[in-house]
């Protein structure tokens, strides 16, 4: 669960990135966060990952109250969150398998479990044929699938997808959102940040619009697929 109570973030430059934001995303929700560049979407993600501190207000993520969270506990928080980036951020010197497995190595999981779990998530994203490929040998869509598998592998409560379709073809974008939706159906909360309105219109669901640091719209709308 993600909850922001009257949260504001002001950067040292004086820019108010978020202003008195109240937001609650329940376990199992799928929400799109939309907004123009500089609206505060990235600040929201940084806040949820405790990369930055809220200037005021209370932020709770997966049961961790971030305002009170000690620095040494940050890895613990992040292990409950899966993150997917627009630019994939795969480690170029590692194969697909290693890129995914390494998340479980971080939490010191047994080797046997790592083998089993990684094979499973690779099959979920349909990349069985690319297990030993390096990121440079993959297409944009395949890279994003690896990133999603990596975000999924340690069974996080929440996946934050930051513009996951920003660097791939439109047709592949739908596949990526479909994949995230199917993961959501298994019970994982998904927060997908995007500026692609076409994508949001097509899929519908809960849409949170951030404009100039404030939530100006937060409602569930029907998608074109449903019509």
């Amino acid at each position: 669960m993600v909850e922001l109570k009257d949260v504001s973030v002001t950067y040292s430059s004086g820019v108010d990135a978020l202003e008195h934001v109240n937001l609650k995303i329940n376990d199992g929700d799928f929400a799109f966060v939309v907004g123009a560049s500089g609206a505060g979407k990235s600040t929201l993600i940084k806040l949820l990952l405790k990369e930055i501190e809220a200037t005021s207000g209370i932020v709770t993520v997966n049961g961790y109250q971030l305002n009170r969270l000690k620095k040494r506990k940050i890895p613990e928080l992040r292990r409950t969150i899966g993150i997917v980036f627009q630019d994939f951020r795969l480690i170029s010197s590692m194969t697909v398998y290693e890129n995914i497995a390494f998340v479980l190595r971080v939490i010191d999981a047994p080797r046997k479990y790592i083998r089993k779990r990684v094979s499973y998530v690779i099959s979920l994203v349909g990349l069985q044929a690319k297990v030993h490929a390096y990121p440079t040998e993959l297409s944009g869509g395949e890279k994003q699938r690896v990133a999603i598998a990596r975000a999924l592998v340690n069974d996080p409560k929440l996946i934050i997808a930051d513009e996951p379709t920003g660097n791939i073809d439109p047709e592949l974008s739908y596949e990526i959102v479909d994949l995230l939706r199917s993961i959501n159906m298994q019970g994982t909360t998904i927060l997908m940040v995007t500026h692609e309105h076409e994508l949001v219109r097509r899929f519908g669901g809960r849409i949170i619009n951030i404009t100039e640091g404030q939530i100006v719209f937060d409602e569930i709308v029907g998608g074109l697929d449903e019509n």
Binding site: E76, R79, I91, V103, P110, R111
Partner: protein, 301 residues
């Protein structure tokens, strides 16, 4: 962390050297040159210091005894001198030996010696080498307290010159060594930073998936340690070869060795253990700590 986890991180560290071989090679070269700069400076200082010691040891204090001091008394005083803490070596030089030596030196003045007849105007003496020449004043005053002392001749001026020379050398070489260490640290720091910078994304990804700082740093630590270890080995081999070659050249300089003494040039086999340890451990420690510290900037995500 489980043993399997540590094993994985150690394996990662070793693998990373190969995967980032260009940066690893750059770090290796920088560490090698830095270790050589410092190592050669220290060895140079030790040798020059040893050479000054060689010159010092050639100087001695002469304690002249009163005439007609009995043999028993001479033995007693000889033992007293030998038991003094700063005394290295004592040799007795009888007045008969002194007379013969003088006669030999002044063979052109036989007439002078003939005029003396059986009279020997010289006295018995002790030739003393001391351990620490800087303590000469204190040691001479201890000799003065002995019985039956006629006079003492000590090379105060020479000692002053050597003491000054050693002091200047210590400061100059100390400054050079310090400068070498600072330069080396700056170069090593920049190289390891560049190496870590090239992998900053990897570090950031690790942080985002919940890796602890220790998990991220350990492979860098291992990688730096291995690179540093091999740089230390390389520096050791180069130093050994160059050092032996230089010592070989010095040993052919008879005139120089006459001044400083043949034992003043330190042989590599006499110092190989501390030099090996300093290079290998120094290289490994600098490499390991340098790499681990350089990750700090990118770890705060």
């Amino acid at each position: 962390m489980k043993i399997s986890g540590v094993r994985y991180l150690v394996e990662q560290g070793i693998e990373n050297i190969w995967k980032n071989r260009m940066m690893a090679f750059a770090s290796f070269c920088v560490l090698l040159v830095s270790l050589l700069l410092v190592g050669v400076s220290v060895l140079g200082y030790q040798n020059v210091n040893s050479m000054i010691g060689g010159v010092e040891s050639k100087n001695e204090i002469i304690v002249y005894m009163e005439d007609n001091t009995s043999v028993e008394k001479l033995n007693e005083i000889g033992n007293q001198i030998l038991n003094m803490p700063n005394v290295e070596e004592v040799s007795f030089y009888s007045k008969e030996d002194a007379y013969l030596a003088l006669k030999e030196q002044m063979s052109d003045y036989d007439v002078l010696f003939e005029s003396l007849g059986d009279d020997n105007p010289l006295v018995d003496s002790f030739r003393i080498k001391i351990k620490d020449i800087e303590q000469i004043t204190k040691t001479v005053s201890q000799f003065e307290n002995l019985e039956n002392i006629y006079s003492i001749r000590a090379p105060y001026d020479f000692v002053n010159v050597l003491t000054q020379l050693r002091l200047i050398l210590t400061w100059v070489m100390g400054a050079i060594i310090l400068a070498m260490i600072v330069v080396s640290m700056v170069i090593i720091s920049n190289t390891t930073k560049a190496s870590v910078y090239s992998r900053r994304e990897e570090i950031q990804i690790m942080k985002y998936v919940g890796a602890t700082d220790a998990f991220i740093r350990l492979p860098f630590f291992i990688e730096g340690m291995i690179t540093g270890f091999f740089a230390g080995c390389g520096a050791l081999v180069i130093t050994w070869l160059v050092y032996d070659a230089v010592v070989g050249i010095l040993e052919n300089q008879v005139a120089l060795l006459n001044i400083i003494g043949i034992g003043s040039v330190i042989q590599f086999h006499d110092i190989y253990l501390p030099v090996t340890l300093a290079y290998v451990l120094g290289g490994a420690c600098i490499g390991a700590v340098g790499s681990a510290v350089s990750t700090k900037k990118y770890i705060n995500v």
